[in-house]
């Protein structure tokens, strides 16, 4: 399996659930709950960014 795709899988599952949550909040007009999706999205991006950077550095070396 492609290494980048494999790295993304544990982040992708949260993205899948986040999509479900955001769509559901928009459908139910629960705009007050939308903020709850932001912290995990940011933390996931930070962690994924670090991994991708490390992979890039390993490739350069």
């Amino acid at each position: 399996m492609n290494k980048l795709l494999l790295t993304y899988l544990p982040y992708g599952v949260i993205d899948l659930l986040l999509t479900l949550a955001i769509v559901s909040e928009l459908i139910n007009k629960r705009y007050d709950l939308l903020w709850a999706n932001l912290p995990i999205l940011i933390w996931g991006l930070i962690s994924l960014n670090k991994t991708v950077r490390k992979m890039r550095d390993d490739l350069v070396d």
Partner: protein
């Protein structure tokens, strides 16, 4: 939408198992998910049925009254927390020194997952909380909910690390040891939740 949530969580389990079997090995997958499912059953029985901390909504896929998605949910998010913290710290928790930054990061990940997931399921009243404290995040979701997520994953991962220290043990033995350990893990979890609830009551009263 409830169907979609349940099926998505089963799909997530499949995806994470594929990931774990590629990154670790098939023995790790068996150890992690078999003992995790046992944790799920014990946890839901203890917190839902015995402590009556919450009651379930209209889940479609259930087993003896317990929603099937909760039997794998805790294992799944514990695995996500483990991988994200490993990636962030650029080292493997199961091989790291005893006092490391992994556990606080796993706890943080669980708290953040609790925010969005509780927001999602609260829209359909899939879990109705009945805690003693009145402090809530929104609607019926109490301040205790993120702690319930955090302690569950941290205790499960810690028990895995403690019991997998010994090298040269086959996976069947480890599954057995870890599965048996889940009963005390849930007892410790219940104790920590009572303390967390007490702290919340004291701070916000």
């Amino acid at each position: 939408m409830i169907w979609l949530i349940e099926i998505s969580l089963l799909l997530v389990t499949g995806i994470l198992i594929v990931h774990a079997s590629n990154v670790y090995n098939s023995s790790f997958v068996k150890v992690f998910w078999i003992s995790g499912i046992i944790l799920g059953f014990f946890r839901e029985y203890a917190l839902g049925e015995v402590m009556n901390l919450y009651t379930y909504g209209d889940f479609h896929i259930t087993f003896f009254g317990l929603p099937i998605m909760y039997t794998v949910f805790w294992t799944n998010i514990a695995y996500i927390g483990l991988v994200w913290s490993n990636n962030f710290l650029e080292r493997e928790y199961l091989k790291a020194k005893p006092f490391d930054y992994h556990l606080p990061l796993i706890f943080l990940t669980m708290v953040l997952i609790a925010f969005f997931f509780e927001a999602l399921i609260s829209q359909y009243q899939l879990s109705v909380w009945n805690p003693d404290s009145n402090s809530t995040l929104w609607g019926n979701t109490p301040l205790l909910a993120p702690f319930a997520y955090g302690w569950t994953a941290v205790l499960f991962i810690k028990s895995l690390k403690l019991l997998s220290k010994e090298s040269q043990q086959n996976w069947q033995i480890l599954v057995l040891k870890l599965s048996l350990a889940q009963a005390p893990v849930v007892l410790i979890l219940a104790g920590l939740l009572l303390l967390s609830n007490l702290a919340i009551i004291l701070v916000f009263s």
